[in-house]
């Protein structure tokens, strides 16, 4: 009797482990559901929207300009950020941020735009292995304009479908800001 219970428990554990591993592989290599919060991607994605982000593009290195990606925050690995890819490695980005904001030993939290001390219009070249991320809501988004280019390896996945709210179900819109860098051939 005891042996039967033990056998059943072990069998149950075995199935749990197996299906847990299958779930891990699905979430890690196929895609995951993400609940977004914050105003930095309005109007494309509003707060409390649920989106589906697929992982295959990231593992196959197929993320392109204009894609909305979920990435780990460079300053807090427990937080994720949802932004649009504006430029890939090698692209020149024109930005009006402070000229010394990308020095590695400073990286200040960017204060409100009205307090920015200097304007620099020198184009920044995105280094190898990095991407330039910006939110669609440029006025209210902390992105690469404040913390610099983000390593590609921090990207988790590409947002491909909006699932909630139901009246907005479907693919996501193009960038409303027109900031995506054209191909420099």
């Amino acid at each position: 009797m005891f042996r039967r219970v033990l056998g059943k428990t072990l069998g149950f554990l075995g199935y749990t482990v197996q299906y847990g591993c299958i779930a891990h592989c699905a979430f890690e290599y196929i895609g995951e559901f993400v609940a977004c919060s914050g105003p930095s991607m309005e109007p494309t994605i509003t707060s409390h929207d649920v989106v589906f982000s697929e992982r295959l593009s990231r593992h196959l290195c197929r993320i392109e300009k204009g894609d909305i990606v979920i990435a780990k925050s460079p300053f807090d690995p427990h937080m994720n950020i949802c932004k649009r890819v504006i430029g890939l490695e090698g692209d020149k980005i024109c930005t009006s941020g402070p000229s010394d904001v990308f020095k590695t030993h400073q990286y200040p939290r960017l204060p409100q735009p009205t307090l920015r001390p200097a304007i620099s219009l020198k184009p920044i070249t995105v280094p190898k292995g990095h991407v330039w991320l910006e939110g669609d809501n440029l006025r209210n988004s902390t992105d690469s304009r404040s913390y610099g280019p983000v390593p590609y390896a921090l990207i988790r996945g590409r947002v491909c479908l909006k699932l909630w709210p139901p009246h907005n179900f479907g693919a996501l819109n193009q960038s409303p800001t027109g900031r995506i860098v054209k191909r420099s051939d």
């Binding site: 592989c25 460079p74 300053f75 690995p77 427990h78 590695t104 190898k128 292995g129 390593p151 390896a153």
Partner: protein
Amino acid sequence: MAQQAGAGRRYVRAFVSGFFVAVPVTVTVLDRFAYVARVEGASMQPSLNPEGNVTGSDVVLLNRWSVRNYQVRRGDIVSVLSPKNPQQKIIKRVIALEGDFIKTLGYKNRYLKVPDGHFWIEGDHHGHSLDSNSFGPALRTPWRARCSVKCCVWCSHGVSCQVSLGLVHGRASHIIWPPNRWQRIEPSIPPERMPLLNWHADATEDEEKD
């Protein structure tokens, strides 16, 4: 004939069900618990690959469970996804954590405060004069020739830099090959590379004094 067809179908079923058990479990173990990696390059000498690639490279066991919350300690040898090439991993020692002030060797800034969410890594082989200063366009190390994208081959080209904590991949806990080098890897920092002070620790000490 019918018996052979039945036996064939049984084998196929057994293979498929075994496949769906073995592959997800293996992938999950490699992603979450432990990884095995061969170290290439000389920038971690003498801790790893003390004789270079002549007698064969060291193989290390990477503990992925201990870094699941991005907790690394100073002196650990860690593998990190390369900020320059997302398909490559580099293996280095952690010298400083966020908030530490350090004196750099050959970096563009002599003194540096490691920003939040980042940590500072260095190779052990400081005499390796081709340490790169930053993420420059070309890393000129002769040992770089074998950096491949195969899953278990790492390249430890000379790099000292700060990396985001989100890039940490695993902590090297043991050397498992060759057998005469079986050992546990202990965290240690050369005394001349210790951080000068820690911003956050000193701030809390001041508060306690008041």
